[in-house]
Symmetry: C2
Subunit: 393 residues, 2 copies
């Protein structure tokens, strides 16, 4: 055998070029985001044995239709490519309208959803709340007594759920020397991990002077802490909770996976990988008020609070993401867009979206491998794209 390997031919780089030090960078992320388990430890979340996904459904004609997102009109396919998307699944009124995949992703593949993991974890919190196992208004220390020396000493689970902990921590994705870098090592996502666990790291964090609950501060360690809170409240590991409470009753078809740290703590802030179809199923369940296949998954009141009624506009206005949703709110790790269509969504870095338009009965799951974690102008375009797409299907 001479010349390029099958891998090189497909991806344009060799497998051995993808390392723990560069896996989130372009072009390597076009492969690695579908293969997190080859880079870090992961735990499986199995679907019902024997489940088979319904055949891929081409988006066909829709891909050639024009949308006017940027200055010049472009086709749906052109926008998906320009936005470095990997996959798109669109549902309308509970039915899959179609799927799209970039050449670097196959139907049936899992893809990391980054911070949509937070939204998924929050659903488990809602389920456990409904069971009386988890109290979102309880102090963090009720479940994690050793949080007493940390920023969370006087925070409630509600602050954690709504990202309003007054946490002294900057989400500096690209600075290798920050506390964020220490966080990345604790998650095992960057080289040099394995000495400080995620739990240990989180409990070293300290608070700002401002009271909790006042400002929307997007800080991922809160969401890893949420996973720990649920584990402590239930006595079950998060991957087991996710399987029993969500994955099986939802009728998810494919195994999900979730990154774990050096002692097995799940990366509930960003480490979940699922297929686009299963991601869309989560959105559809939320659109249906917490029901899937005629079965209640999470209380309807919790869904309503999360997607419509809850959250503080004031807190959101004091945050840094107001540019994306000027009339938005953030509740239980879901974004209410504040748009007239009542849309809500989960968002992950590098182009992960789960967008639900209740008015049009549309659910859109989009996965991507954008070269940079955050790209505000593109994010605004993606929202506009979803709004346009919802009206086209």
């Amino acid at each position: 055998m001479t010349g390029k390997t099958a891998f090189e031919t497909r991806y344009g780089f060799a497998r051995n070029e993808v390392l723990l030090s560069n896996w989130r960078e372009s072009p390597f992320n076009r492969w690695s985001f579908q293969n997190l388990g080859e880079l870090v430890p992961t735990a499986p979340v199995a679907a019902t044995p024997g489940s088979v996904e319904a055949p891929v459904r081409d988006l066909s004609g829709l891909l050639g239709e024009k949308v006017s997102i940027a200055s010049a009109p472009e086709t749906v396919a052109e926008f998906l490519t320009r936005s470095t998307s990997d996959a798109l699944t669109v549902m309308k009124a509970g039915k899959v309208i179609g799927d799209w995949f970039a050449p670097n992703m196959d139907f049936g593949a899992r893809h990391i959803i980054f911070s949509i993991s937070k939204s998924v974890t929050s659903i488990i919190a809602g389920i456990l709340e409904g069971e009386g196992v988890f109290d979102p208004e309880a102090p963090v220390t009720q479940y994690i007594p050793e949080a007493v020396g940390s920023a969370y000493a006087d925070a409630s689970c509600r602050h954690v759920l709504d990202m309003s902990v007054s946490l002294d921590f900057e989400e500096a994705y690209l600075d290798p020397e920050s506390a964020f870098a220490r966080y990345r090592r604790a998650t095992l996502w960057n080289p040099g991990g394995g000495t400080e666990s995620l739990r240990e790291f989180i409990l070293t964090l300290q608070r700002l002077e401002e009271p909790h609950g006042k400002t929307f501060r997007y800080r991922s360690p809160n969401s890893d802490l949420l996973g720990l809170l649920l584990e402590r409240a239930s006595g079950q590991r998060f991957p087991d909770l996710m399987r029993e409470k969500l994955w099986l009753p939802l009728g998810a078809v494919s195994e999900a996976s979730i990154g774990v740290d050096m002692e097995g703590t799940a990366r509930t802030a960003g480490g979940i990988s699922v297929t686009p179809r299963d991601l869309a199923r989560i959105g559809e369940m939320m659109r249906q008020g917490g029901t899937a296949n005629g079965r209640g998954i999470v209380p309807e009141g919790w869904v309503r609070d999360t997607t419509v009624a809850g959250g503080s506009a004031e807190t959101w206005q004091r945050g840094t993401m107001v540019h994306l949703f000027p009339k938005g709110r953030y509740r239980n790790k879901w974004y209410q867009t504040g748009a007239a269509n009542g849309a809500f969504c989960g968002i992950g870095i590098h182009g992960q979206w789960l967008y639900v338009d209740p008015k049009m009965e549309v659910v859109i799951a989009k996965m991507g491998s954008q070269p940079v974690p955050e790209d505000y102008p593109l994010e605004r375009e993606i929202v506009a794209f979803f709004e346009a797409l919802s009206g086209m299907v």
Copy 2:
């Protein structure tokens, strides 16, 4: 929630006690051997989507029958427990006679098979040989030119396949300061890895003065190198080869997984995890001369060479495992026991066995979590147990 977690109740220790530094030790290995992916990076080897395993079949009466392995008779169940076994699946004439699981393992779970991975990898070599893609008699440098400065400079693939490379490397499982420890780090199986790849490590190894091919020297890096040889010969990654060439045609029911190093090189020497049923399927295919479900998987001539005809008794006699099989031979990473029943097997540390008795038409897959990697007296007892069991089913 107070008191023990579900995990602690089941396993007797907490999940966060299991670390990269102790996962192969008892009691942690009673869980970790079924969950390698939570400790190190792994690549999946998917089965046919929708495959479902036939229901578990109790070994029932057989478990209470007496065997005389040690000084006093004991029941089959007692022996399985005494040998710290996790699972047993027995087939006779192509049919599953029954399964047994220790309380720490569920039906359907994957378990690491350690060095039976070598035997599986060798099957892929046999398949690629049959396709004319891989030549076992070729020099290693034909596929890996950069091996020229290493022990493998003048070794053939045959030497690699038969563990007769004159390699200056001691398989010191428990010494933390040895070259073996450097190997463990390169595999990512011990803390401190991520700076030297498996390939880089292997190609630093040097040879002894003795010619290649003379003495059976069990050195695992040879078997990791075999995976690299197959990747170079085929231009495909090992997990893809294993799926396409073996897992799908074999009719394996469950996803397998294989550990990978910092650059994605598969741990073909020891990193494969499979279910007991799928492991038994491999044995049955070998018993059937390379055929499964009426379909040729690997050439019959290769199976015959591997399990009956090939290998050097002289080379074996000069090795250190002669105590286990006094009349044995080692060919293509399978052991010919040399017993009258013509039995052959694959063996992995900590109690992993795939034993085939062609005369009695019996296949036995046994998984374990023995406290120490190697336990010669127990290994001899296990062989005696298999011989007894083959006559009882």
